[in-house]
Symmetry: C2
Subunit: 515 residues, 2 copies
């Protein structure tokens, strides 16, 4: 029996969700991107960033690429290139005149070897779902798109090791694994578009890091190509391998600046036999913390996700995208999910947890379900927020780690600071991991607003010993702010590593490393 | 009610266990080591390894060290140095004439800066519990012992982040955490002596990696000192921090050759409310695999350890150490442990699992308990094997990852190959992670035996795409065999990294990198 105050999701009608990034395949999205209003060129919006001394694309280069890949896999038509030049949140825009579509590691190796010899700058791109401008060119870098490197090499049902090429789409991998009762250890809103190579290159976090850990823990091996074209094969599928330096970690999270990941081996957990999801409405952030603590304690090893959404964030999907929420309006909402192996035990734990939460007055309203379509409808509310916010016009996006007790503190402070010139100041995210997505939206990009937010947000975060990029990475947009989370010695070591791995600086220039 | 055939551990008397590494503090162990017969000097046993062109210790060096640390923390008396020169399994022996005992990061920094300037080679040493000769000098390297760097800086009860110095003993940390209902995410037989800095430097695995993941996933941050004395502060306590290169991974598992870890932040899981342990006797390795598969499926998220012991391994503790086994003799044994948050649910899962295992005839005999003292007695059988084997005389030790179905295959092959000249050929270990500890014992070291085993074992492992060192690392003893698990490009990159981080090669020379 369900606890008092918690209603099952019977009343929730299936909602028409429109086209959202997680369900749009890459080619569709590129067309969408070019149909939208284009943002200012990055070189104009950020005039302090100067083009490096790289070669300008010429016939010699194009001739080499076309000989290697054939004409169909070398894109030079400006309108065809456009989708690869703009990030999907329309924050940055390069003007590359050439997109390469390799299918194999050997092709990537030959491209990089040639580009390195000829000082041609290269921007690796996967699903282009990044939020910090890491995967689009800043100037005219050649784009190396991984989308045709989409083969699954093997799935070991016993060990759970998946081996695949870097261009496989996360959701496609998850679907293939599901047939073998396995699942990907990461899940994020962009799963329908993002490539696993991009996920690993950016050390993506997502909705279930709380349970399944981070990619440094779950990636078993990588194959990557260095700037000079040399292939580094660390594609081990073993859970334990202590034979010398753990080189794969050089490529996990370095955003394609130390090498291009071409293949990945990853440890996939079993698909849970029982899944339960609760969606709760709360009156205060204090209660968010109390419920988080209680969920960790009472749900223990079956807790798989614990997310928070504030009123304004949810409003962006209910108003801008017309998605329906099953709850009435509250200042805060939480999603609490369990993954387990025993339906009866899990339901008993979840129901007892919800009963306590309602009885203690920690939640004012709530709903729980284990029906896949209804769970999906609730997850859609959470996963559509990025898109909902974009409909406001322009979104200033911050992805911050803070000690849990300070998790939400920046939102009211910033709301006060920016005042009425904002459309919206809101926060949501992975409260179980101390990672908030803080957004300020305006009708269109505004330098005045940017100056009000930055570097304030980073200074605030740094003071609380937080991280100025929890999971989105540094990309192009945050290079100036790395020093808020990294010591000068660490930054110096990063630069030495870059110089060692890519002495000509051809790999994803202008990204990650502070100028 | 307990399933048929499974008896609770009521009959098992508390056993007197003698002094074993996990319960001996470092100072005691050093005395033991010096009281034992000393092994041949490494320089004589491995004459092909030549001393590097490092400075020989002189009064200028000693004067600097004594000025910095005071006379009490600079050990030069040969008999006091002896325990630091020999590994505890008495495989290798250096002849260092100086042991330094810093207390702070700043002292480590000053020592390394001086040694780098003066080309003095340094061997970092923690609890000296390694099994591949990684933590004792090969020649006369100065030993930098971390044992006085044993402060716990903070334990965050909410997030589970522990911050401590590198010289804290694993078991002491676990005891302190227990007071706050937390636990260390790793556990190994040497816990009573090993230092967390050594654990992280060697990327130690242990008994519960299956559940709590590896150190690349659980270590939140490290502070390390580079060869030139520069301090790299990556001591983040955040679960998510994607601000540039993930430098901490350079130090995790590089065995002190790229820097000396001085502080660690690590994510500690909650101490389980319910623990259950089953000890099973089996007739075949085929049944080990069937039980492993079943344990993963039926115990799911509460499975915390799954270990295998063969008959000969268990014999080494029952005969050599006089520990008592609660089961009759069988060709194979398994330990299956659960950690969970609900006693009733966990017992129900465990009992159902054991009932099936007995009914299906997968186990012939078994016992289960949730009483701490009885669980400890069973774990002692498993954790004492290393010591039991040592009592045979000399142990040739191999720590190998193999695809699960081949996990045990090397033991009978090797038994056949070495024939009667071995005291014992046996295998045990982390079957849940595909990591077997393979041992061949003889009365004393024998070159003939070594030649029979090596490189055969490594070739065999390499053919099956296994790892020649699953968790023990490369240390001194396996540098010749790295190429069996690493490509030549990877080894070249390792050497470039070493040259960049430690251009004078003063840090733990003769270790990890192939000559």
């Amino acid at each position: 029996m369900l606890p008092r105050g918690i209603i099952p999701l019977i009343g929730l009608r299936p909602v028409s969700l429109g086209i959202r990034p997680s369900f749009v395949c890459s080619s569709q999205r590129r067309e969408l991107a070019s149909a939208e209003v284009l943002p200012q060129l990055t070189k104009d919006r950020y005039p302090h960033v100067k083009r490096g001394e790289y070669a300008k694309l010429d016939q010699h280069h194009l001739g080499f690429f076309k000989d290697l890949l054939g004409p169909d896999r070398v894109i030079t038509d400006p309108s065809d290139c456009e989708g690869f030049n703009v990030d999907w949140i329309r924050n940055v825009r390069g003007y590359s005149q050439c997109v390469l579509k390799p299918k194999t590691t050997e092709e990537v190796s030959k491209i990089l070897s040639f580009c390195n010899d000829n000082r041609v700058a290269v921007c690796p791109q996967g699903g282009n779902t990044g939020l910090v401008g890491g995967s689009v060119p800043v100037f005219d870098e050649v784009v190396l798109w991984t989308g045709l490197m989409n083969n699954v090499m093997s799935i070991d049902e016993t060990s759970g090791a998946l081996v695949c090429q870097a261009g496989c789409i996360l959701e496609h991998l998850d679907n293939q694994l599901a047939e073998k009762n396995l699942m990907m250890p990461l899940d994020l809103g962009a799963k329908g578009s993002c490539h696993i190579g991009g996920n690993v290159s950016t050390n993506a976090g997502g909705l279930r890091l709380l349970r399944y850990g981070n990619l440094h823990g779950t990636v078993l091996g990588v194959e990557a190509v260095k700037a000079d074209g040399e292939i580094i094969d660390c594609l081990s599928t073993l859970k334990k391998d202590n034979t010398g330096y753990h080189l794969k970690h050089l490529f996990i999270g370095s955003e394609g600046t130390l090498g291009i990941i071409t293949k990945i081996a990853i440890q996939c957990p079993p698909k849970p036999k029982a899944v339960n999801l609760a969606f709760l409405g709360l009156k205060s952030f204090e209660n968010v913390l109390k419920i988080l603590k209680k969920a960790k304690k009472d749900l223990g090893e079956i807790l798989s996700s614990c997310e928070m959404i504030d009123e304004s964030s949810l409003e962006s999907v209910t108003e801008n995208l017309k998605l329906k929420s099953p709850l009435s309006i509250h200042p805060f909402y939480m999603l609490v999910e369990t993954h387990g192996s025993n339906k009866e035990h899990d339901e008993e734990k979840m129901n007892k947890f919800l009963e306590d939460v309602m009885e203690e007055g920690l939640a004012l309203d709530g709903t729980t379900t284990n029906e896949p379509s209804k769970m999906k409808a609730i997850w859609d509310l959470r996963e559509s927020i990025t898109e909902g916010l974009m409909k406001d016009g322009y979104a200033f996006k911050y992805d911050i780690s803070l000690p849990t007790k300070h998790f939400y503190s920046l939102v009211p402070v910033l709301r006060e600071r920016v005042g009425d010139i904002a459309q919206r100041v809101c926060g949501y995210g992975h409260v179980g991991d101390g990672n908030i997505h803080l957004n300020v939206t305006t009708r269109k990009f505004s330098q005045e607003m940017l100056d009000k937010i930055e570097p304030f947000v980073f200074e605030y975060t740094s003071k609380l010993r937080g991280s100025v990029s929890a999971e989105h990475g540094i990309g192009f947009k945050k290079t100036k702010y790395v020093h808020f989370s990294k010591s000068k010695e660490s930054i110096a070591l990063m630069k030495k590593l870059k110089a060692m791995m890519d002495p000509n600086g051809i790999l994803n220039p202008y990204k990650v490393l502070p100028c």
